[in-house]
Amino acid sequence: MTALLVLEDGRVFEGTPYGAVGETFGEMVFNTGMTGYQETLTDPSYHRQIVAMTAPHIGNTGVNDEDPESRRVWVAGYVVREPSRIPSNWRSRRTLDDYLREQGVVGIAMSGTRALTRHLRERGAMRAGVFSEGGDVAELVERVRRSPGMEGADLAREVSTPEPYVVPARGRKRFTVAAVDLGIKAMTPERMAERGCEVHVLPATAGAADILALGPDGVFFSNGPGDPAAAGYAVESLREVLDASVPFFGICFGNQILGRALGLGTYKLRYGHRGVNQPVQDRRTGKVEISAHNHGFAVRAPLDGPFETPYGAAEVSHVNLNDDCVEGLRLLDRPAFSVQYHPEAAAGPHDAAYLFDEFCEIMNKKGAKGA
């Protein structure tokens, strides 16, 4: 059986069906991580995206019970070159193929993953469809073109937890954190909990009142899918949080929300950053951290020095050395900062884990001042 991957610009790749059989639509993106497919699949930020893995052999370590980053697989479709025939790892519980089928994820195994990546690099991320059983190409292209795009899509609400829940602090509780789930990954509250935070995870639509009602030491906005321009509700909540001068930390989508709350614009990158090898420079120290990325949008902010915002002066704290993309924002007069990349990693290197310590520090300082 010949499966097809059809792009909206008419480019078509042939392959064999992988995972669930059927058809699926989404934004076509590629991920360059060589490890961590299980984390990638379950990262809510990939909601409505068809993810192609540039690493050729996928599924080698099977699927275990410990590594998922959320309750389900979120990718809309999965494109790999060489699906593993067997899993081999002491923690593996099932094969990736079975897992994808169980989760209803339509995939395709095809030799042209590099050609696809080069195409997306040149033409930008675009809509695509995977069709396990093939079909008439002209008609499939038409259907892909009719599928919804990513710009203007409000998706955080779709992936967010419907009900609040609490991740208890490990060891002695030091802080209460209100974490707004815009597509949060399991490792994020985990990283806070291991630093003594009791993390109250709230739905995406939580208003400032809901957030502040917890009397948090700090507020956190997570990563998540979709266009930040379509998440005005989150921007509103954050503004009130900033007004209240509660320490704030944001990751990824949370960084874009902070940017918009500060009056900065956001824009769609041509093909985004998705991988675990991106060099980000901390502009205060000059140090470079190798970081995990998953973003298709970015904040537009001046790189040449501090700038004014309704909340006082702010600056770009981190920048991507590959393309000078804004990777972090920081208010200079208030305890608020955010980064565009993933200090919680999972998948990816742990170089940026210090940012959770910094979050704890500003909560600590604020607490000391408040007391």
Partner: protein, 1092 residues
């Protein structure tokens, strides 16, 4: 942090001769470092005793010292050149150890030389196992990481070892401290083995220290390549996974990059540990590697070791990822930080990132056990391979099969022809790690093994075992030459030859079927970023995938075929020639294209040529590269004569396929290689070859030998590097040889010229004019493979008349054969008759040596001749000297001595006597005003300094006794106490040399407990051994005595001279050392003197 401005000159130390465990990867790293330092405006002072390296070409440093890498010589160079800094991390363990020795001797402080890129304390912390263990425990606890060290004990005596082994339980691993390539290490399964291995290990370690540790045999093994800058930015360049589990040295393992059987959590834990460890160790800047073992059942992770320097794996990682570790390490050492250095390949992104691979890299080792009869072929923690090949593919099967065929060794690739043999026997064979174990596993699979059985027998991860099953399934599905079949087979890396073998058709038939279907490989770029950014540096590999990425060029292209994996007889010298051709032809306006598969080399640096194809050197793979290049522009020529026998073997087939082979034509090559045809060339020129004949049976051989007279040189007719050659002195031995020789090819029998002087000549010929590059006189007599003999240039005993004859003969051969470019001829001079032994119309092993000794770039000149230039033109350009050549060197020209380096310390139990079969892995050069000093330097560079006092043991064959008297007398005059066996002692005494008689091994310990000579050697009572062999191999008596003496010498690392000529040279050398007139002189100074 920008470049440092407080240092102006930097000394770089190379790694010396190519030996097992330290090969041309350090030429690659050192060359990169020198290029970086010079382009950054530093004055570079280089020390390396290995003339075959590219780094020692005068153009790569301001002052190049081809001198022994010993602390005293390096100190002399420091005193003379006064460098501001010393960069010791790019020359392997040799450079690092030398730097530590210089530091400890106070030399660095004395001359105000700053160590850069390394920190003495960090070197010691990384290499001192006890301290390293503490570091691992500390970082694991501080950062909450899964990391431990194997339970172990440090031992300084045999008693310590026995006690520790009792506590740890057998088997235990023995690892000596401060040795390279795992020398002296091994597994001890019982007390007897422990005594043997730990004893040797204690000896091998400069600190008389070994580590005994718990066995982690069968665990998964990984390695990370790490870079750190002075701002403490750290990146992991590459992860490498060993397919052979723990128990086999990484250098001997089949390895894959990136690691394929780790989850992100496990990989990140490993990464965190690596970074925390190098921070804790305090690695200054630059590259280092760190090795891990993982328990496949529980994930328990052990940190095995780290090297605070660029290593063999760094070279592999650089080629595997496109991230040039040595180059970046050099930049970091002079002050840059990673974010300040651009990624060469993308140009737009910085070096402070971690490469992402969208392909699989497989490295396979190449062994040479066939050269070392009696060597233990089991792979252990003691490295035994002599080279490696790497291949890149878009899947593991594709990369693996490409890598196996890159080995160019019969029986390396998987096969589905013939009988598999018994399944149980195959599985049993798989239990013992050996050269070609993957193929044994593949045969077991063919014979019906289950995945569980294969895994159980080998402990190879089930994922890799399954991939072998996948390959087997594809092989079984090959039943016709249709598109789906061929497509699947090609994507799994099957060669046309393999498919042909399976189908029982000709390879050409598969190829034409494939062409008709339009099924050809595409070429993908190694771009460091999995296609996320556009790549600017064309570094390509073939794969059966979607899109080709070969750029369109505008200049005529020249394709240079490299020499493949290093092996004995074909090593770095050929890479040297290829690299020089590439540099020179680029200068001459060509677009240069390199094809090679050896990750250790300079030729496979993406900076060397305009385009690099990392590809096997088989006919199929080369034809595809040529095709791909022709698709994008005109190919002016394919150069086959610089990469040794590998490309030469393809010449005719390439030409037949319509490929424009330039230089000496395939027909001319044939003329030189075919006995009959070459005989006619010689006859026409009035030249003499030793009498010879061929035979296929014992009787025929007897008759031939009878006619031409003993001794005779016998060899199979289709061999490389002297494989299977022997010198036979009598009929019985001849019969034994013939009965062992394979019967399908006839055996060549030559008159062996006893006592002849052997002469090697490298020359250039343009069709009209001959340029005699150099005439080398062997120090050992004829009969020892030219690659294994020491030689001197200019020849030390030949007169003007001899040189004239040699010139005329060389020119006649060049003209008769039809050479365009390089020609190497071997002559023997006996009883004033000049015999032609053989001629090779290609670059030879000695080209780099001759180039350095005479300050003329022969390989570059050859490349130009190949493309049509003439010698007259090159003289006019100044590339070749005007008015003289290597045959007419001025009388005051320096004398250069080349000495071969042999790997006997790796193959205990192998006889060290030299013979017609080449066994050396590398070479060194000693250069000085006088022969004696040059020879002493060569010995010191190869084996450690010659002794100047103490006891010399002499035992020589009867035929050598007369010639030995004078040099032995000289030794006695120098103050040596002479020990000798009875027969030799008698002759010496009669000639007035006081010699003490010692007991032979065969005589046993004396009645009064007098030890035999072997005992004395083992007890360290002897400083110099002179032992020329006699009798036939395999016999008892004198021959066996000699063998045991030489083995003891290897075990103790004592200088052991096996020819009288070598003895005479050594005596001259010792006299010079005693006189204390050993000075240092750079190649640039020598060249100035020669040219003035």
């Amino acid at each position: 942090m920008p470049k440092r401005t407080d240092i102006r000159s930097v000394m770089v130390i190379g790694s010396g001769p190519i030996v097992i465990g330290q090969a041309c990867e350090f030429d690659y790293s050192g060359t990169q470092a020198c290029r970086v330092l010079r382009s950054e405006g530093f004055r570079v002072v280089l020390v390396n005793s290995n003339p075959a390296t590219i780094m020692t070409d005068p153009e790569f440093a301001d002052a190049t010292y081809v001198e022994p890498i010993t602390p005293d010589i390096v100190e002399k160079i420091i005193a003379k050149e006064r460098p501001d800094a010393l960069l010791p991390t790019l020359g392997g363990q040799t450079a690092l150890n030398t730097a530590v020795a210089l530091h400890e001797a106070g030399v660095l402080t004395k001359y105000g030389v700053e160590l850069i890129g390394a920190d003495i304390d960090a070197i010691q912390a990384g290499e001192n196992r006890e301290r390293f263990k503490e570091i691992v425990a500390k970082v694991a606890a501080e950062h909450g990481l899964n990391a431990e060290s194997a339970r172990s004990a440090i031992c300084h005596t045999m008693d310590d070892c026995l006690r520790a082994a009792g506590e740890l339980g057998y088997p235990v691993v023995v690892r000596p401290s401060f040795t390279m390539g795992g020398a002296g290490s091994g597994f001890a399964h019982d007390e007897e083995e422990l005594r043997r291995i730990a004893g040797a290990g204690l000896d091998a370690s400069p600190t008389t220290e070994v580590l005994l540790e718990e066995s982690i045999l069968g665990w998964k093994e990984y390695e990370l390549e790490v870079m750190r800058d002075r701002a403490d930015n750290v990146v992991i360049v590459c992860s490498i996974e060993n397919i052979d589990p723990m128990g086999v040295h990484t250098g001997d393992s089949v390895t894959v990059a990136p690691a394929l059987t780790l989850t992100d959590r496990e990989y990140q834990n490993m990464r965190d540990v690596a970074i925390a460890v190098i921070r804790e160790v305090g690695v200054d800047t630059g590259g280092c590697n760190i090795q891990f073992a993982v328990d496949p059942a529980t994930g328990r992770m052990i940190v095995i070791e780290m090297n605070p320097r660029v290593s063999r794996s760094s070279a592999l990682a650089s080629k595997a990822t496109g991230f040039p570790i040595a180059k970046i390490a050099a930049k970091l050492a002079i002050g840059y930080t990673l974010d300040e250095i651009p990624n060469d390949i993308t140009k737009e992104t910085p070096a402070s990132f971690e490469p992402s691979l969208d392909y699989i890299v497989v490295k396979v080792p190449r062994f040479a056990f066939e050269k070392f009869a009696g060597a233990d072929e089991t792979l252990t923690t003691h490295m035994k391979s002599v080279g490696e090949a790497m291949a890149i593919g878009r899947s593991f099967p594709e990369a693996l099969q490409k890598a196996l065929r890159s080995l160019e060794k019969k029986g390396s690739s998987f096969t589905w022809a013939g009988e598999t043999g018994d399944l149980d026997a195959l599985l049993e064979a798989c239990r013992r790690p050996h050269d070609g174990r993957l193929r044994t596993m593949q045969q077991a699979i063919r014979a019906g093994a289950t995945p569980e059985q294969v895994h159980e027998a080998t402990s190879v991860d089930p994922w890799f075992v399954d991939q072998l099953f996948a390959i087997d399934e594809v092989a079984r599905s090959i039943t016709a030459l249709d598109r789906p079949t061929l497509e699947t087979a090609k994507r799994h890396g099957f060669s046309d030859a393999q498919i042909a073998e399976i189908l029982g058709v000709a390879e050409a038939e598969v190829r034409s079927a494939r062409y008709e279907l339009g099924l050809r490989p595409v070429y993908n770029t190694v771009d460091t970023c999995a296609a996320e950014f556009a790549a600017r540096t064309p570094y390509l590999y073939s794969t059966y995938d979607e899109e080709t990425e070969v750029p369109v060029g505008d200049r005529p292209k020249v394709i240079i075929l490299g020499s493949g994996p290093n092996r004995i007889g074909q090593g770095i010298e050929f890479d040297y020639a290829c690299v020089h051709a590439s540099f020179e032809l680029a200068k001459a306006g060509y677009e240069t294209v390199m094809v090679n598969c050896n990750p250790e080399t300079v030729s496979t640096d993406y900076d060397t040529s305009d385009r690099l194809y990392f590809e096997p050197l088989t006919l199929e793979d080369v034809l595809e590269v040529v095709h791909a290049e022709q698709e994008t522009g005109p190919v002016a020529g394919v150069v086959v004569q610089l990469g040794g026998q590998t490309p030469l073997g393809l010449a005719q087939a390439l030409k037949d396929a319509g490929v424009p082979v330039v230089g000496t034509s395939p027909e001319a090559i044939h003329l030189a290689e075919d006995r009959g045809a070459f005989g006619r060339v010689l006859a026409e020129a009035g030249l003499t070859a030793p009498k010879h004949g061929t035979a296929t049976t014992v009787d025929e051989a007897r008759a031939v030998a009878e006619e031409i007279g003993y001794p005779v040189l016998v060899r199979p007719s289709y061999v490389l590097g002297g494989a299977g050659m022997a010198i036979v002195y009598d009929e019985d031995t001849l019969a034994t040889y013939m009965s062992r020789a394979a019967s399908e090819h006839p055996v060549l029998i030559d008159r062996f010229l006893d006592d002849a002087i052997e002469i090697d000549v490298d020359a250039l010929f343009d069709g009209e004019e001959l340029y005699l590059g150099g005439v080398m006189e062997h120090i050992e007599e004829a009969g020892i493979h030219s690659g294994d003999s020491a030689c001197a240039l200019p020849p030390i005993t030949l007169g003007g008349y001899d040189i004239k004859r040699i010139r005329a003969a060389t020119e006649a051969i060049a003209r008769g054969v039809g050479v365009r470019g390089l020609l190497n001829v071997q002559y023997a001079l006996a009883a004033n008759v000049l015999y032609v032994l053989e001629a090779n119309p290609r670059a030879s092993r000695t080209v780099p040596f001759v180039s350095k000794a005479t300050a003329v770039p022969l390989a570059k000149a050859a490349a130009r001749l190949t493309m049509g230039a003439t010698i007259a033109e090159l003289r006019a350009e100044g590339m070749l000297p005007d008015g003289y050549d290597g045959g007419t060197l001025p009388l005051d020209a320096p004398v250069a001595v080349k000495e071969a380096v042999l790997p006997f310390n790796r193959f205990r139990g192998v006889d060290t006597v030299l013979g017609p079969e080449m066994r050396s892995t590398g070479e060194v050069m000693g250069i000085d005003e006088f022969f004696g000093t040059a020879y002493a330097k060569s010995q010191s560079a190869a084996y450690g300094a010659l002794p100047t006092k103490g006891r010399a043991f002499v035992s020589v064959a009867n035929k050598d006794k007369r010639a030995a008297i004078f040099p032995v007398k000289a030794l006695a005059d120098l103050g040596f106490e002479i020990l000798a066996t009875e027969g030799t002692a008698e002759v010496l005494r009669r000639n007035g040399v006081r010699a003490r008689i010692v007991r032979k091994q065969s005589e046993g310990t004396g009645p009064g407990g007098e030890p035999t000579i072997v005992r004395r050697i083992l007890d360290g009572e002897v400083d110099l051994i002179v032992n020329t062999p006699f009798g036939s191999p395999g016999q008892s008596g004198p021959r066996l005595d000699g063998y045991e003496i030489r083995t003891a010498a290897v075990n103790r690392g004592i200088a052991c001279i096996t020819t009288v000529q070598g003895l005479a040279a050594a005596v001259q050398g010792i006299q010079h050392i005693v006189r204390g007139d050993i000075d240092v002189c750079s190649l640039q100074e020598h060249a100035r003197r020669l040219r003035d």
